[in-house]
Symmetry: C2
Amino acid sequence: MAKEGTEIAEETEQMIDQKEPDNPVSAVVDSKEMRAVLLTGFGGLNKLKVTKKPMPEPQEGEVKIRVKACGLNFLDLMVRQGNIDNPPKTPLVPGFECSGIVESVGENTKGFEIGDRVMAFVNYNAWAEVVCTPLDFVYKIPDDMTFSEAAAFSMNFVTAYMMLFEVANLREGMSVLVHSAGGAVGQAVAQLCSTVPNVTVFGTASPFKHEAIKHSVTHLFDRNIDCVPEVKKISPDGVDIVLDCLCGENTGKGLTLLKPMGTYILYGSSNMVTGETKSFFSFAKSWWQVEKVNPIKLYEENKVMAGFSLLNLLFKQGGCNQVKTAVQKLLSLYDQKKIKPVVDSLWALEEVKEAMQRIHDRGNIGKLILDVEKSPTPLMANDSTETSEAGEEEEEQEGDNDNKERMPFIQ
Amino acid sequence: MAKEGTEIAEETEQMIDQKEPDNPVSAVVDSKEMRAVLLTGFGGLNKLKVTKKPMPEPQEGEVKIRVKACGLNFLDLMVRQGNIDNPPKTPLVPGFECSGIVESVGENTKGFEIGDRVMAFVNYNAWAEVVCTPLDFVYKIPDDMTFSEAAAFSMNFVTAYMMLFEVANLREGMSVLVHSAGGAVGQAVAQLCSTVPNVTVFGTASPFKHEAIKHSVTHLFDRNIDCVPEVKKISPDGVDIVLDCLCGENTGKGLTLLKPMGTYILYGSSNMVTGETKSFFSFAKSWWQVEKVNPIKLYEENKVMAGFSLLNLLFKQGGCNQVKTAVQKLLSLYDQKKIKPVVDSLWALEEVKEAMQRIHDRGNIGKLILDVEKSPTPLMANDSTETSEAGEEEEEQEGDNDNKERMPFIQ
């Protein structure tokens, strides 16, 4: 790992709550307690620690899951910084998705049996050994899907699927621009686009990722350059769908790139994470800096502007049935071997700082997974996944000074 | 007709260009000239007259059509007032759609034979006895489709179809709110919604139209009241698709009514026509008064905001292939007798003022047609169409003083 990574790793050894006498990984499971990642307050990486929490028990309609793997998303960095609208109170256990085995179910909780292999959405609290979540957010997984794949599947593939096929209307012959094409959503988008004939994918990514992901993206651009003129050189009319997780000043540019009848979708705002640790200011600033759009302009230009937030849909807007439909379609595509989650790397709960730093530095190709049963030693995904190049490429990335300047260390 | 209507009719007798010696309707066709409606300058109804124009001849790739019927749209009123972006120079012949018989074709114009029954889009110049337009904008019509139906078909059904099925993604069980449900687009929307199982249509219309259109709309509201609380009483979660041709201050309200993953589509701005005859001011005012939308709001609320302008798509943005696909699907639905254009009334070219006044007063149910072969005597669509109620209802509308106050006479 990077020099900084080594320093974090040393610190990690100290970050286990000093009151815990046992080695947390090898300890016999105490049925009244569980390990979990705790965010003690909004801010830098030093706000994270692994601690023991009371064992949760399933309420009516809930499923209790012995967690095997958790997904780490860019959004988790924004949560850590408090860079979200109406942030919850700290301390909290972060994490929105996990996979594992059903350990028990609450009253009136039909459809799941103890021992079922599942993946689940959780409204926080996913980064723990045990999770309880309503049955509407739990899905059985295929026998041949690993827990790491399952934890890499739900958030990113559902987001990509609903954007491409429900918000937009991806059809044969269309073109899609996706930023952060090497990220977990970007890779899910690229795979889903390949299920439709003759779709052109334009993607931006750091140059060191290009070799690893070039098979999945038709035209790759350096994320440090303005891709608009480059896309227009290849496709003067523009593209049919622009997927934007960066936000900031790029909204107007994204709309400019759209063909008539095209759809621009904002699905994240990772430009809000700029190294600051303060919470409210960044969010408010982004809100005001984003260019607002006149509906009459959309009318004249025949354009569609949309936003997509899976977590809001699930946890604030009662969209679990829509999401369940999408999950079923995606699992069918998985069974047909048309899609397969790309896992970048596996990390122990105690390594969450290093994992967050890696995603912050945009060093990952595909998904970062917290492997609950893993001991705190770095381990890249094995060769059977599509991420072997990721591990190799990562070495080069350490020398990516330009990247470091852009994204300063945010301890 | 209304008292005002009678006055216009008397004036109409004077509006034929005085230089024309013959009765224009019964005159033998002079192959070097044709009759056409002329807009002499932007403003009130007095800017319209019927005159003779040189006979157009088809250029390479064009089809020459002997026109039987022309469609009259609200947009034509906006053109007359100059209330559009970048209005063309006057004098001009208005009109964007017609039906008729192919009279000849230009060089390299394949796919059409003399005598073919067709409907066509025209970039102005439709309100004339003869029209030439590129073959990409011409479509053969079924044998059992009347010319009036064909002239009522293209603009409104294509607009409704592309909004519901291409911009939005209408599926079983969804709900749609359409303003001006009694208008030609509104009726097309209602019919197309009925081709999808279990779709709920909310509509606004003047009370006098309710009886006539109640079979096509699930829930009807008085257009003079704020429908937002009424819709929410019936569907507290809101609706999936809002179609807005009014614009103005209603954009924000429309977005409020959307369910998560819902789509708001602005497809017109008829609120710009408020009785003024000045051109630029109204358009610019609307542009600035319309509430602009922050993409982050769409992200947080999972909403889609879109605009749709068929004419811009066709004539400015090269979308004729997309439109052709939609026309083919619509003609298939027509053949299956799942849709049928609603014709409100037929008018001679010389009656264009009365026709415009009727659409301005929102007295119509369905489409107003300029029947090129008709002599200047009011004639309601016959009983075989779905518009017999329209003619009867119209009598009631004359007493609709509230309506008159809202929409003052705009001579």
